[in-house]
């Protein structure tokens, strides 16, 4: 019997006691020529998945572009209710988490178990800080009645408290709901990706502590790294579009 069909991880193979006479590491699948080809195939598959994600977020970005053009004053007014300090802090936190994830990939390549676990945990911590700050921002929107469909109030846009703000006519002020709808849809989908990512990080930490990725089998860490960096890139575009490009001066 092919032992690969039973033992899917190096630890399982070792404990299974099955004879394995082949001249290759346990994590290499039989349908690949060599480890290099296996890694290339895995990276290629991950990138194709990430491209479908580009198309998914791309649709939201396209909607934002068109509606921003149609209802520009409403989008400017909506954008200025966001907290630029929290937004910038979150950008720095997320870039930091991408850095720790990149270092986790390096640690796995160097086969340093302790260091790998440390950087994976740091990535979890920074990712959680990002979500925490996002929760504070969402709560502020709730307090301000700026969640579309939930007692939404146009008061702030018709009679602005900010002296720099230009008051909007009630029909244009209603269109700020569209800005906030896209704001919640885009940052919400981004946050969902981060929640899924953090869940997977816990799984990876558990497997890493058993030494699964520090004996040459770097692919799962590498591919998760690609996913995490992709989520970072989405935020790199969300941040200027939602927070920056229409500040009152």
């Amino acid at each position: 019997m092919d032992s690969q069909s039973i033992a899917t991880t190096p630890e399982e193979l070792e404990s299974s006691g099955l004879p394995h006479a082949h001249d290759h590491p346990a994590f290499m699948r039989h349908h690949f020529e060599d480890i290099g080809q296996q890694r290339e195939a895995a990276s290629f598959g991950m990138w194709v998945f990430l491209l479908t994600e580009v198309m998914f977020f791309g649709g939201l970005f396209c909607a934002y572009l068109i509606f921003r053009n149609w209802y520009h004053p409403a989008f400017v007014a909506g954008s200025n209710t966001l907290d630029i300090t929290l937004g910038t802090t979150n950008t720095a936190v997320l870039i930091g988490s991408s850095f720790t994830m990149a270092m986790a990939v390096y640690s796995a390549e160097m086969r340093r178990k302790g260091q790998l676990i440390l950087f994976l945990v740091l990535t979890i911590v920074l990712g959680s800080v990002f979500l925490g700050i996002k929760a504070v921002e969402y709560h502020q929107k709730y307090v301000d009645h700026h969640i579309p469909g939930m007692n939404f109030s146009i008061q702030e846009f018709v009679h602005p408290t900010n002296p720099k703000a230009i008051p909007l006519a009630p029909d244009m002020a209603e269109k700020t709901q569209l800005y906030f709808f896209l704001y919640f849809a885009m940052t919400g989908m981004h946050a969902l990706h981060m929640i899924i990512g953090i869940g997977m990080l816990f799984f990876l930490v558990a497997r890493a502590s058993k030494g699964a990725f520090t004996a040459g089998h770097v692919m799962p860490i590498e591919n998760f790294g690609l996913y995490w960096h992709f989520v970072d890139i989405v935020w790199i575009f969300l941040f200027p579009l939602l927070y920056l490009i229409s500040r009152y001066r």
């Binding site: 480890i35 990138w47 149609w70 520009h72 850095f99 390096y106 920056l244 229409s246 500040r247 001066r249």
Partner: protein, 107 residues
């Protein structure tokens, strides 16, 4: 499969990016974040959006090339990324040809 081909394949495929590279990219991303936030407080008209998106594109390129190792990857992966972004730009452009030919206001 001989031992020799196996060795060459493994050597050719894996390129381990060193921490100094990651640190330099991290620093560059932080500087660009500070820069884009700073510029957003200066009134440049339409160029606020242009500059902010240009900086975002530079940041995204740094992440793709170095954090995601595309700079060191095979031609297959480089072509995959390029083909995907090209298709994405194509879809956005075709959508925009419709909207831009009707009424185009402000951005």
């Amino acid at each position: 499969m001989t031992e020799k081909t196996k060795q060459t394949h493994q050597d050719a495929e894996v390129h381990i990016v060193r921490p100094p590279v990651y640190l330099a990219i991290f620093a560059a991303l932080m500087v660009l974040t500070a820069l884009t936030t700073g510029i957003s407080f200066i009134d440049l008209g339409v160029f606020n959006a242009v500059i902010a998106l240009a900086i975002a594109c530079v940041k995204a390129s740094l992440v793709v090339l170095f954090f995601m190792h595309i700079h060191y990857s095979s031609r297959l992966l480089k072509l995959t990324v390029a083909a995907g972004l090209f298709t994405f730009m194509l879809l956005i452009s075709l959508t925009m040809t419709d909207y831009i030919s009707r009424a185009w206001g402000m951005f």
